[in-house]
Symmetry: C2
Subunit: 259 residues, 2 copies
């Protein structure tokens, strides 16, 4: 079996925004689906891990968009493991047109493996004698920054919005799902802003879990609050119930030229 | 070409709720995708209509669930045109397992055709000399109630919740998309309620369009407000900006036996 997985998806109409382009959250969802299919097909998927009291946990996701697929376009999400250590593995993504001629996006992700009983990190290499290493593709290019810790100074933070989470936010683990955070963050900007800016890079680090009913606070640094509608870098921290940090995002937005 | 369309879908992990079952909104989305594929394959799809200054508009959707597909299950959405008149056509759905042995759900929908310039209803039979009639399947069973007007007495309504719509709610027409209404309505109930009740029937009638930024009021009749957490029938009216009705829903929920 090829070490690189390739999975085809469709930009469904209800997964596209006002401009007819795929929502970034849905692109992220397709990447996570591809990761799941790839690992399942190669023997280290979520369902098998569950039987071993283990689970993959997404720690970080970074997406850089060249051009978003348009409504009804079919596209391929390629995914492969770039590296694997004891407590973290890096998985990359490349989103291309079905003929392979156009690159829509790249992605990078970092995953940990936890013990589902203790919720503590466990040794990835303990699974099948480190079999994951056999799937590493070290030489396939993923020409986007890795992205590290998102630095936000929260000592003087400005509240942008509060979001009450509900039934539809929550996955089978009872946690607010990774894709819904992306959706909630992009909702901080109006359609008017989205129609004159495009998200070139979106980066999210998952810090702790939130549950249905938790109220999320979307914050930025005080000094950045008045630049929220500018282009360039935006930093968003997500807290729950005013005290605990749940996730951090870094966006890079570009102003679009008028048509 | 068969008059009945059959399209396969997967219950993706992030499209499943806390119980590992497909969200009803996503089932609705798959039905609407199937409708779109079916009509496109047969020459009366949205993209061709757009070139003729016409568009399909979903007027009503009713879904009855026997059993929701579980995470990772593949299923088939069958769809066919039951009847077609000058201003409305009825399209049905049957959701079955890939081996055809298990029925997950049935659906009924009513569609109008509008002139995209005037937004007024137009004659469906004017398209290709009434060619839609050739696709009618009158004898395939869809054993669920048609459902008519949802009657709600709004003279004495109780506000349940307000929902501010945002970027991710809106489709290519700039309108809050049909699937997002289902999501917002099901969010009116807590996970605790959803874990002890299942939605047997969900019915929605689309009355007017809402746009990003509109605040939706979710209302029920005053006398029903205290029964909102009971089983049985629930009636929800959706208004925008406190004055204009946007949609009406009728749910039938069943209390589940304790495990």
């Amino acid at each position: 079996m090829d070490r690189i997985g390739r999975y085809e998806f469709l930009a469904e109409p209800f997964h596209c925004d006002f401009s007819g382009r795929l929502f970034l959250g849905h692109l992220g969802n397709h990447m996570l689906n591809a990761a799941d299919f790839h690992s399942t097909d190669r023997g280290f998927g979520m369902r098998r891990l569950m039987t071993m009291q283990r689970s993959w946990v997404l720690s970080r996701l970074a997406i850089e968009v060249c051009e978003m697929p348009q409504q009804y376009e079919r596209f391929i999400v390629e995914t492969w493991v770039e590296s694997a250590m004891r407590f973290f593995t890096q998985r990359n993504f490349r989103v291309v047109s079905t003929d392979g001629n156009k690159v829509y996006a790249y992605g990078r992700s970092v995953w940990a493996m936890i013990d589902t009983a203790t919720r503590q990190p466990t040794d990835i290499m303990a699974i099948d004698g480190g079999a994951l290493k056999e799937w590493i593709v070290a030489d396939k290019e993923c020409p986007i920054e890795k992205g590290g810790r998102v630095r936000i100074d929260l000592t003087n933070a400005a509240l942008i919005e509060e979001v009450k989470t509900a039934y539809s936010d929550v996955d089978i683990n009872g946690h607010v799902n990774s894709v819904k955070y992306i959706e909630h963050v992009l909702n901080l900007w109006t359609i008017q802003w989205h129609s004159s800016h495009r998200i070139r890079r979106f980066e999210i680090a998952y810090v702790a879990e939130a549950h249905a009913g938790d109220t999320l606070q979307m914050l930025t640094e005080q000094k950045r609050a008045k630049m929220l509608n500018d282009d360039g870098e935006q930093l968003i921290a997500i807290m729950k119930d005013g005290e605990k940090e749940v996730a951090r995002c870094r966006l890079v937005a570009e102003a679009m030229a008028d048509d």
